[in-house]
Symmetry: C2
Subunit: 465 residues, 2 copies
């Protein structure tokens, strides 16, 4: 007979104590196949508990397969492997923790930073509070994103970027990486994809890990080389025509036309247009999207709210040409939209009620001020003899090129020592060109005016001294 | 000289009218390379506008590459391809719209449905309102998910599922499909993956579209066939051990041990444990996760909030064994976590403040009532001679097997005609077994008591009559 020292315990009812005890005995090999267990009636009598308590414990052991109930014969132990050292200890935390450790940074010229202090929180919150009241946001929605949101995005894109689309062509996703991941699913036969060099590293990594072979095409005169594309063995290319990332150039209308002609020359050719930060131009009109010229339907247009609002909202969209929208329905419709319905509903209202455009206009003005401040500080503190600027008048950063005597290692060591965080342009190249001069992406969007001036001064006096 | 009929218009300033006019003329070929444009001074005089207006228009045309500024010589038209029919018409909406059309359904036995009417909205809203006040939720977070959330999930999993993990091993994602997508990235060399047959269709589709070859292993005695796995040419398998989807069986301890031994026999072997709805057992204790026995660190544990709360929250997590957690940091760390920070923060508080467990307990009780109601109705209305139930006492649906004279086509046509939505088990098989009887997944979680009884009665009187 099994003897268990049962203890009255609210948290650990009798049946659990019996179940745990027998389970342990089986795992340790003290009870082994084909041993018969006492009948529930006799064990109950022996332990002075009710028979249903033992039945419940036996039931659980049967459910997990430790023992077996044979009709009219009783309960038998199943064949189980015994392990001496069975208890599992929780694994230790890995040495390199997943979260970055802080270091002292006084001036962070982060080109990816956005200013969130001017976000209209009160509006967002009030929309959010309303939408939290809407139980609809707790029911699964369309796998392509809520139709109202797709309509709002479609209207916005048509008005502000000249994009031709209807909600049926839009897929809402969780930002660029996720949308590119979906394109990796959509393009079943992944061959090579042409990309700008220098270009967007994360996009390259995502497309590469998604099965594409990356063909890096060096920029010509600072913009995508549509001539080189013609001889490249690929049917897909990824471009940033309105504001080349990272160099900041605009793809000229003639190259846009060449690009569209290339796509039209063979079936199955597509252009992925990443329109990453085209909301922010500080001079002249916005550059219309390449998609707005795409009457052959070869352009996949991708945009996100990461720059216009914040990457923390994790929301973006792509506009698929008709044939691909159909293919998406065939091949990808079992992927749910990863954006929570609540977020989608808040964004829909935020756009529809005009707050998004209002916010963009405000931020454009704010960022222009910071941009001008940075240009001014560079002109004041960094001598023209050694420095030039490019990629200005748009986006959230500019590029500072240095042609002086210091080498990159010295510059970067000194920057680090003085609390300046710099992003080297070198890292964005697959293959830096011959005659590359040390160049840095200087983000201004996330910095206050004062910090911009002081940061540039620090660069002049302590880094490039 | 260019003559433009300029109209005073607040929405369309002069410089835009000039820019639009010249752009159209170039695109139509009326102005062509290498034509020289009038100087801005003379055009301004001619049009009676300020010179800066013309300069702005010319500047935009230069930025987009329509014209070129040559130093001291003026502005020249660039070589542009002319298109007769250049205007783009918005594409028509596709015939098969992306959104499902409604049909009259009186009784929807949806096995994926959850009840959202009992969700503690007031708590969720109040947490949500607090978190909307926290600007931290507008800044990018960890690519693995916020650490506080990973800690909360880790604590919950340890307490309720016996899972051994620390926050460093957890990756937060947007639900099962997205987490499997990330595993497709993590496993660089994708070969075959063994899956249960019948099994979870979406998982199969995602893994297949992510590059895996699917090896369907027919269930043996209703559970994963660990014997057959031994001879299968694969190093990865995907299983639902605590509640087989869709049949509802529990993988016995001996097969669990066989599975873990299999994984231990060769390096690089892994088991994906999809613990989809293990929160809901209506009899006995919860079945501990397979991962809780995994002292060799071969199990990738995946869970979501889709069943416990709602699929609309789009949030799940996976627990990676140590070696894979390191590989994830190497290969996948450039993928941002797709879950908005706000959602993560709300969920963190919801778990930490005890509301999640409270909600689970409440729903378990509610679903048990509906489960019992369905079993009762089946026993009352559907004769034992023709029907049996399996997969009961757990999850959100049970399986009704029919062994009578009607064929599937008749059953399904009658169901449709009478407004009953049925999901056939057949669809979950890659290869339905010989001697398959028509079987249906009857979801009860999303139905009121009354509807359950009436729906089963309708099945008895109008469908299986």
């Amino acid at each position: 007979m099994i003897t268990i020292s049962l203890k009255p315990d609210m948290k650990n009812p009798m049946y659990i104590q019996i179940y745990e005890y027998i389970k342990e005995e089986i795992l340790r090999g003290n009870l082994a196949c084909p041993q018969k267990l006492p009948s529930s009636r006799s064990l109950a009598a022996h332990l002075q508990v009710s028979r249903s308590t033992v039945d419940t414990a036996y039931g659980q052991l049967v459910a997990e397969g430790y023992i077996e109930a044979r009709e009219k014969r009783g309960y038998f132990v199943n064949p189980i492997t015994h392990t001496q050292n069975f208890r599992v200890t929780p694994p230790a935390a890995p040495a390199g923790s997943a979260d970055r450790t802080a270091e002292t940074v006084l001036y962070d010229f982060n080109p990816d930073a956005v200013d969130i202090s001017h976000f209209p929180y009160s509006v967002w919150k009030s929309i959010g509070k309303n939408q939290l009241d809407n139980p609809k946001n707790f029911v699964s929605g369309s796998h392509y994103g809520n139709r109202e949101l797709r309509q709002a995005i479609s209207d916005y894109l048509h008005g502000s970027r000249g994009v031709n689309c209807s909600p049926e062509h839009i897929v809402v996703g969780a930002g660029l990486a996720h949308l590119l991941q979906m394109l990796c699913v959509l393009f079943e036969h992944k061959g090579a994809i042409a990309m700008e060099d220098p270009g967007y590293r994360s996009a390259r990594q995502v497309l590469h890990s998604g099965g594409f072979t990356i063909l890096d095409i060096p920029l010509r005169e600072g913009a995508f080389d549509t001539e080189a594309l013609k001889s490249a063995p690929t049917d897909i290319c990824y471009v940033t025509p309105s504001h080349q990332f990272p160099l900041g150039s605009v793809l000229s209308i003639s190259r846009r036309q060449q690009l569209l002609s290339w796509a039209d020359e063979a079936p199955g050719r597509y252009i992925i247009e990443d329109d990453h930060d085209s909301e922010f131009r500080y001079q002249g009109l916005p550059i219309p999207a390449l998609q707005s010229l795409d009457y052959r339907r070869r352009v996949i247009y991708i945009g996100t709210f990461s720059k216009a609002i914040s990457p923390a909202v994790r929301m973006g969209y792509m506009v698929l040409p008709e044939t691909l929208a159909e293919a998406y329905r065939e091949r990808c419709s079992f992927y749910p939209c990863p954006v929570p319905r609540l977020s989608q509903a808040i964004m829909t209202d935020f756009i529809r009620q005009g707050f998004f455009e209002k916010h963009l206009n405000r931020m454009r003005k704010l960022y222009k001020g910071r941009h001008d401040r940075m240009v001014e500080a560079i002109c004041r503190y960094l001598p023209e003899k050694y420095f030039d600027i490019s990629g200005d008048n748009a986006g959230l950063y500019l590029i500072l090129r240095y042609r002086g005597p210091l080498d990159e290692k010295t510059i970067e060591e000194r920057a680090k020592k003085n609390g300046v965080r710099l992003r080297s342009l070198r890292g964005y190249y697959a293959q830096p060109p011959a005659g590359y001069s040390p160049s840095y992406l200087l983000g201004f969007a996330g910095m206050e005016d004062e910090a911009i001036t002081e940061g540039i001064r620090c660069l002049a006096e302590r880094v490039f001294r």
